[in-house]
Assembly symmetry: C2
Homo-oligomer: 113 residues x 2
DNA sequence: TCACATTATGCCTTAAACGACATAACGATG
DNA sequence: CATCGTTATGTCGTTTAAGGCATAATGTGA
């Protein structure tokens, strides 16, 4: 038996940000393009773009600075708000994962009764 | 912006227990019948029974002692294993909820940068 | 032995999340 | 000014999970 959990940020009852979107943004940061990031994560550009837009709408911030045209057709880079969001989310998520496992062991494994 | 999370116990990759099943078992304990418990939670008997069975199969334990016939048609009461599971789950869940909110405030609200 | 309220279970329908397809717009570069 | 690879977006199909319908089985009490 093992514990699993999923956490996400909400705004007005809708999912605003979670693990998948964090990975997506990190890939964009690394690759300089939303299209390339989507490919790397094995999802369609359409799906990736939709998630970004959903977060932008929910939180009322822009996540990407985009350009079209030029050598390579264009690209996308992270805004300062996006970087801050990633940082905080990662910090929070890592901390929760650690606490979760520790508490789980404490209550479900070592504890008798 | 607020944090949300869902946690559940898994066994062999399948959901074994989570909040909904805890509420269901607690209702059975209070009402003495799975049918009555399902009604109270606004779900069909079929759905409630299916969840109980799924947990029993996943964890390899019995959750309910059942009888049929007699005054009232029968009923169900919790096994000792069911009570233990509820207790541990509640303890764990409550602790996580508390930690989650505290950490969330710490990282997303009060922290600057 | 009949009635009744419960447990027990197969099966089909429906809802909703998710991703894919198609198509437009953009604009620096050559 | 044509090309190319990107961003942008509506729409539609598919898969999967959740729930409901129908029906059997149980066994005590009247």
């Amino acid at each position: 038996m093992q514990i699993k959990f999923k956490l996400w940020l909400e705004e007005n009852g809708g999912v605003a940000f979670a693990e998948g979107r964090r990975m997506l943004l990190e890939a964009v940061d690394r690759l300089g393009s939303l299209n390339a990031a989507a490919k790397e994560l094995g999802m369609s550009y359409r799906a990736a773009w939709g998630k970004i837009k959903a977060t932008e709408k929910a939180l009322g911030i822009r996540l990407l600075d985009v350009t079209t045209g030029g050598k390579g057709g264009g690209g996308a880079t992270l805004t300062a708000e996006a970087r801050e969001l990633i940082l905080k989310y990662k910090k929070f998520s890592d901390r929760m994962t650690s606490l979760m496992e520790k508490e789980f062991r404490h209550i479900f494994v070592s504890t008798k009764q």
